[in-house]
């Protein structure tokens, strides 16, 4: 029988701000990739939703770094990140990506709205690897913190990318429905965003089902492998399935965010109902936010010493 009698406690350092930041970069990257379906891969019918995606990608990514800056202990020192580099650190990779990617988004948006085809294609194809990198690096931020068992897995960037695709598609569905149903008469919005047919929303729904399926699989293999590894990994897995984070993980992330929406998206009677699709897209977004939160906070919850 061995037990701990006394030790000191440690605070959980990264929390809601960081989880929200990860959520927002994910949404942005996925919107960009969906937008590129029309303008890079040339699928003509996605053009209206391509415009929406490009704008969402840019706006969301200008908001996202603010969450990082307010999370610093000294927010005014964020300027250090721009002239003191350590290229081994994923945070520095992030600094560079967070400059390049919004710039690229801005040029891409400009090219779309001025109808310059070669320019659109060039910056669109440049943007795809950038979008993958700007979200993939956040996966590496967690994966390279090697003390934390839940994060230190090669699956982490992939897990982040696929859940980003899920959240981005869900947000585009919500915005498209919002625009068509509730803001359909507003002149200024109609001038910049062409009409999005129900047909496209159903296509997005099909994509979303596939992304959720892959996300479920990645989540499953991640948690399964936690059980078959070091004691710390086993503890992390128990934390997710039985411990204080089990409600958020099992009910918030998996049931609410993945299983219920995907059932609604494939059931014949329900899947044509746009309102239900929107509601379940909102559930998906909530589920993905829970996924970010659980990954960030539950990882730090396991005692290291």
């Amino acid at each position: 029988m061995e037990k701990i009698i006394y030790s000191v406690s440690h605070e959980i350092t990264l929390s809601t701000n960081i989880a929200t930041y990860f959520f927002l970069t994910g949404v942005s990257a996925a919107s960009f990739i969906i937008s590129s379906l029309a303008y890079v891969f040339g699928i003509e019918k996605y053009k209206p939703c391509g415009k929406l995606g490009a704008v969402v990608a840019f706006i969301v990514l200008t908001v996202a770094p603010l969450f990082l800056i307010i999370d610093l202990l000294q927010p005014m020192r964020f300027i250090h990140l721009f002239y003191m580099f350590n290229f081994k650190s994923p945070v520095t990779w992030g600094t560079i990506l967070l400059i390049l990617y919004p710039l690229n988004c801005l040029i891409y948006m400009y090219a779309i709205y001025t109808d310059k085809k070669p320019m659109t294609k060039f910056f669109g194809s440049l943007g795809i690897p950038l979008a993958v990198a700007v979200h993939g690096y956040t996966g590496f931020i967690l994966a390279l913190a090697k003390g934390i068992a839940l994060w230190n897995t090669p699956l982490m960037p992939i897990y982040f990318l696929i859940s980003a695709m899920v959240s981005g598609t869900a947000l585009l569905i919500i915005l498209a429905v919002l625009k068509e149903r509730y803001l359909g008469n507003v002149e200024i919005i109609n001038r910049y965003f062409p009409k999005i047919e129900d047909d496209i929303i159903h296509d997005l729904r099909k994509m979303l089902v596939i992304f959720i399926g892959v996300d479920l699989f990645v989540t499953f293999s991640d948690v399964l492998l936690l059980f078959y590894s070091t004691p710390e990994n086993y503890t992390a897995a128990r934390l997710l399935l039985k411990g204080p984070f089990s409600t958020m993980f099992l009910y918030g992330e998996v049931l609410l965010g993945m299983i219920i929406p995907s059932i609604i998206f494939v059931t014949p009677g329900l899947k044509k109902n746009i309102r239900l699709i929107t509601a379940s897209s909102i559930l998906v977004l909530i589920g993905i936010w829970f996924m970010r939160y659980v990954t960030v906070v539950a990882g730090q919850y396991v005692p290291l010493m």
Binding site: E2, I4, Y6, H10, E11, F85, P90, V91, G147, I148
Partner: protein
């Protein structure tokens, strides 16, 4: 005409200013290349400061933790080092185990590798230090550290951790925790020099380190470390809750303001504050 001329001059000036700014920026980037040597002078030989803690001698009094707090003015509720107390066996075959934990000053420090602004750096003597003027407080090093010895200093607003009392080493003194240890469980010194006491102890005892699997090459060595006790309770949800509790609220029960007043008493007066010298020269 007059306006036009003025505008021209303005543009010229603007371009000039922009050019100077750009040049300064490039120069600044070049200058901020980190030279760890400029903090502690090179002595010719490759020094490696290390600590050996003989747990057979440790009585768990916690004087080292107190000395550390006094020397470095560590705020209430935060610890640069502490003594973890564990228990093994059942009555009447039982024993207490004490495991002092501090920054391991790892040879291959993950905090150093992950710091985005090089605020954490390795000195040529093997110390891992933080430049408080560079640190932005992104807290990434805190989650990277496998030993959880870093904390966010609530009043200085940077990350902080054990420095092996670098200000004392510079004067040829030993760290405060080593000097104060009444059981003489701790030995501190240069492990690359074969004539030091620590090298002799290191060579002639069986040595353990905490978490060797993390591959960080720690430089705090233990004699008689019980791995079972060191890892005890980590899978216990109750211990997790204890480990992540708010110590000011649940243990000491004082307000944040009172804690800050406590810190301000020694602020600027403690030895570490007076002889603060962890700043990289290339930064000033």
């Amino acid at each position: 005409m007059d306006n036009l001329l003025k505008e021209k001059v303005d543009r010229k000036e603007f371009l000039k200013a922009a050019g100077t700014g750009l040049a300064l920026g490039v120069l600044g980037t070049l200058l901020t290349k980190v030279h760890a040597e400029d903090v502690l002078p090179k002595t010719g030989t490759k020094k490696r400061y290390a600590m050996v803690i003989d747990l057979r001698r440790c009585i768990g009094c916690g004087a080292c933790a107190v000395a550390c707090k006094q020397e470095n003015n560590v705020p209430l509720g935060y610890y640069r080092k502490w003594v973890k107390l564990g228990e093994k066996g059942r009555y009447s075959n039982t024993r207490n185990y004490y495991i002092p934990i501090l920054c391991n000053h790892c040879e291959d420090a993950i905090c150093n590798r992950n710091c985005p602004v090089h605020a954490t750096y390795k000195t040529p003597d093997g110390l891992t230090l933080i430049d408080y003027d560079r640190c932005v407080g992104c807290k990434y090093c805190m989650v990277s550290c496998p030993y959880n010895v870093r904390f966010a200093h609530p009043y200085r607003k940077t990350v902080d951790k054990c420095t092996f009392c670098a200000h004392r080493i510079k004067k040829g003194l030993e760290p405060a925790c080593v000097v104060t240890c009444m059981a003489k469980a701790r030995t501190f010194g240069d492990i690359s020099d074969k004539n030091t006491e620590i090298s002799k102890i290191f060579a002639t005892n069986s040595i353990q380190v905490l978490k060797p699997e993390q591959n960080t090459k720690p430089h705090v060595f233990y004699i008689g470390l019980d791995e079972i006790v060191a890892n005890a309770g980590k899978d216990d949800f109750r211990y997790m809750k204890y480990y992540r509790r708010d110590i000011l609220k649940e243990e000491i029960r004082i307000t944040k303001k009172e804690a800050e007043n406590h810190y301000n008493i020694l602020k600027g007066v403690s030895n570490a504050d007076i002889e603060y010298d962890y700043r990289l020269k290339s930064n000033t």
